[in-house]
Amino acid sequence: MAIDDTQAQSETGAYELQRPGRFREFWSYFSENRGAVAGLIVFLSFILIAIFADFIAPYSPTDQFRGNLLQPPFWQDGGSTKFLLGTDAVGRDMLSRLIHGARFSFFIGLIVVSLSLLGGVTIGLVAGFVGGWVEVMIMRLMDVILAFPSLLLALVMVAILGPSLINAMLAIAIVLQPQYVRLTRAAVLAELPKDYVTSARMVGSGTLRLMFITVLPNCLAPIIVQAALSFSTAILDAAALGFLGLGAQPPKPEWGTMLSEAREFILRAWWVVTLPGLAILITVLSINLMGDGLRDALDPKLKRS
């Protein structure tokens, strides 16, 4: 073998030892941001609560304890450790309802993000690859959707489709879609002129292969960040629709719906209003903090900005 193998060997040497793996590098950036780590912990416990709601919750969320209407949390006068966070106007255990509400919120976030992600990324890829009038049409349509206040548009859609949790999720997914389209298209346009794409063309990759196998994996970083952030937007929007009576319908323990049911007790029983609101706040905040950390770790262009 004329080409010196020993040369190539010493050329590698310990080269790969010094380069930490992808995940370790990601974690070192991510863990630098303490808020992100805190957000991740809260978010993980949120997911665990959502999954194991049936086992964690002391009661069923719809069980009514007629003898304990509007009982305050246990640390207040009149509260008892039987209902740790008190009960609502029809005697349902607040803690159980909040725990089951986490399941709804998680479900909403997951479905909405998957829908808008799949649709948005595909449309964005098409816009970036095809170009020409197709791209112009897609992007103008997205601009139109973006021009409406998102909640208002979702409201209109729910009003047309009829109020239910599924329709609310559909509406929110459509409203969130343009962000993915724009993001994906921008990332695709940035990747297309790179040499490795030309190289893939040289060996004869078809358009579909170029789109999904060559280019898409390299566009994922900003999309993942956006997915995390829109998870919280979805939860927030669904809660708002629920509050307006257009999302999940009572007696489902959705946090927004719980808020709207408890409106009239705002002065008499603070816990029925405050606790669902707090649950929304903590969840959304933790996801946003985590999203910021993801952005730091995945998207070097946006770092420290």
């Binding site: 020993t6 010493s10 050329e11 040497g13 310990a14 080269y15 030892l17 010094q18 930490p20 070192s28």
Partner: protein, 324 residues
């Protein structure tokens, strides 16, 4: 006394995997009117060492030196403000990418006048006259018209001329050129190098040329300092270095030049420059050196000045050894 006298300069960067030594006990000495070339591959610390002298490194860097004298002033004890009075006035620097070294939002004239305003007590009109004079000096045709041009309206070679004009605006005693022609075409490179040498001779300005191009070194420099993995491995006058390199690295580097090739295969240096995690214990070049023995692998050689040259090697090649 030397214009710039740096002893035992070490620069360390804080990274997530610990301290990284980019520059390792380097001595630099530049006389007035000298042309010193610092040669090395990427990662040899050639740019970092000069940025350290200029005080332009980010906060993650720790700079230590036994002595860092410029024009009799100790650079290590200066306050930031005192340093700003020297940097850009008596000592200035030009960079590799002329396109990104100029601010794209402002006209060439504005940036040039800005440089003058910072250091010289000139009136508005005097600054403009001086700016035109400077552009003329660096060989830009129609200087008055060019003053109102934005950097993107000029070519790379023109922008590099503007950068040089800004660097020499206050008649510096020392100009550090960091790969000034790497981004330019050869015919433009020839023009820029000619200009730099002309300024060096006519305006009594010492020149430090950081480059990786041996051809540029041979045609411009008077003295050459070769760096490898953060260390200075050899310093000689340019004629002696090309005729009889003392360090095996320099020897191998010169032999690898295609223009010195005798056969179809070039004599090449195996391996790569050591990085942060695979620094050898002994001589840094030992894993790639064809002459290395047990001593080289165990002990790091010290820089040994022997008459006119200094070599960091246990077994420097004798003067009579010629380049294969």
């Amino acid at each position: 006394m030397a214009l710039l006298d740096v002893n035992n300069l070490t620069v360390e960067f804080k990274t997530s995997q610990g301290q990284f030594r980019a520059v390792d006990s380097i001595d630099i000495s530049v006389d007035a009117n000298d042309v010193l070339a610092i040669v090395g591959e990427s990662g040899s610390g050639k740019s970092v060492s000069m940025l350290a002298v200029m005080g332009l490194l980010p906060w993650t860097a720790t700079v230590t030196a036994d002595q860092m004298l410029f024009n009799g002033i100790d650079l290590t004890t200066l306050t930031a403000k005192q340093r700003r009075n020297i940097v850009g006035k008596d000592m200035s620097m030009i960079f590799q990418e002329p396109m990104s070294s100029l601010n794209p939002c402002f006209t060439v004239g504005f940036q040039l006048r800005e440089a003058l305003k910072a250091h010289l007590p000139l009136s508005r009109s005097a600054r403009k006259i001086r700016a035109i004079e400077l552009l003329e000096m660096v060989g830009i045709p129609e200087p008055l018209k060019r003053l109102s041009a934005f950097p993107h309206q000029l070519s790379g070679g023109m922008n590099q001329r503007v950068m040089i004009a800004m660097a020499i605006a206050c008649k510096p005693k020392l100009l550090i050129a960091d790969e000034p022609t790497t981004a330019l075409d050869v015919t433009i490179q020839a023009q820029i190098l000619e200009l730099l040498l002309e300024l060096n001779q006519q305006h009594d300005m010492a020149l430090v040329l950081i480059t990786h191009d041996m051809g540029v070194v041979a045609e411009t420099a008077a003295r050459v300092s070769v760096q490898y993995a953060g260390q200075k491995v050899e310093e000689q006058s340019v004629e002696d270095l090309f005729a009889a390199p003392r360090h095996p690295y320099t020897h191998a580097l010169l032999a690898a030049l295609p223009e010195r090739a005798t056969g179809k295969l070039l004599p090449s240096i195996p391996g790569v420059v050591p990085g942060q995690f695979d620094r050898p214990t002994g001589c840094l070049f030992s894993p790639r050196c064809q002459f290395a023995d047990a001593r080289c692998l165990a002990d790091a050689p010290l820089a040994s000045p022997d008459d006119s040259t200094s070599v960091r090697c246990h077994y420097p090649l004798s003067n009579s050894a010629s380049v294969a």
